[in-house]
């Protein structure tokens, strides 16, 4: 006998993501899911963004890593509240992992929460964590073909950053080709070309972040 089911395979994750979203909303925290390949500059972006935001915005961080707490220690050294999640080999964060980390942060004292996902351009895209926006970070040395090879990730983005823009002069990176691939799967996500090294482009990204925080983004 055949019985219809028609149910999302990740429905359990989606329920937990909804719980996270409610908890974050209760405390007025705007959370971002930062996804990228290893080495694209997720941690650098978080640190540069915190510096650019200045003292008026209170930031917390959840660090997702397969193992180690190198990134968490880097963040904590700046006096930023951080919780490390070691996924123990898992290639992405899931909503329940974030749910277990949230009570360990001073949510009532935070405005923004950066959740640094595991470095990976495939898996993290499928798991909603309960964040307000998905941020995808690409970087110049990775090459301009990434949207063509990992369309699922770029389609999931609410905003895309191309980091290490200071290296554009040294790499055969075709920015128009990159953007064309991005637009095939994602016509609306803003693209910010930035360099965490020299600060280029960060102003526009931070302005977008502030407008997200104020709920006034398009």
């Amino acid at each position: 006998m055949e019985i219809p089911v028609v149910k999302q395979i990740l429905s359990a994750n989606e329920q937990m993501a909804a719980d996270n979203r409610r908890l974050l909303a209760t405390h007025g925290v705007t959370a971002l899911n930062i996804m990228a390949a290893p080495g694209a500059g997720k941690t650098s972006l978080i640190l540069s963004t915190v510096a650019a935001l200045g003292d008026g915005v209170r930031v917390g961080v959840i660090e997702g890593d397969v193992a180690s707490r190198i990134d968490a220690d880097t963040i904590a050294a700046r006096g930023i509240p951080v919780v490390q999640i070691n996924t123990g080999g898992n290639c992405h964060l899931e909503a329940w992992m974030v749910g277990s980390a949230l009570p360990r942060l001073p949510l009532a004292e935070l405005d923004l929460l950066f959740i640094e996902n595991v470095g990976n351009l495939i898996c993290p895209a499928a798991w909603d964590l309960g964040t307000a926006a998905s941020v995808v970070v690409a970087s110049v040395p990775e090459g301009h073909d990434k949207p063509y090879k990992y369309p699922g990730m770029f389609a999931a983005a609410d905003v895309v950053l191309l980091n290490k823009a200071d290296l554009l002069a040294y790499f055969d990176f075709d920015l128009a080709f990159f953007e064309r691939g991005l637009r095939m799967v994602n016509p609306q996500a803003p693209l910010f070309v930035v360099s965490c090294r020299n600060g280029e482009g960060l102003e526009a990204w931070v302005a977008w972040l502030r407008s997200l925080r104020n709920g006034s983004q398009a």
Partner: protein, 127 residues
Amino acid sequence: MHELSITQGILDVALAAAAEAGARRILAIDMVVGELTGFVDDSIRFYFEWFSRHTPAEGAELRIHRRPAQGLCGECGHVFAVTVPLLPGCPVCGSGLVRVSGGHELHIESIEIDDGNPGSQTDPQRQ
């Protein structure tokens, strides 16, 4: 590697549906996987065989229906099936003004169960 968590999700959804229907055994699972999800059929099958042991889904046939994404050329209007990696442009006119939609499906459509009643093959009523 993310097929591991996905497979656990498949099993959870199928077992819950089977329990609700009062089934003793799951014979087959029909699921839909979009082309852009990046999930690999063989990995899902491998983990499924492992996870389903000693459950009512042990030995069930996993029927994975792949759904392509769809490309629409903004220049010539050509509509085509999209696979990964994406083509740099429309396969007919070469234009880069292509819009890709769909391909993100990830759900179970139905399960086939053994409800312990040999005469119930055509019975649409759930137990």
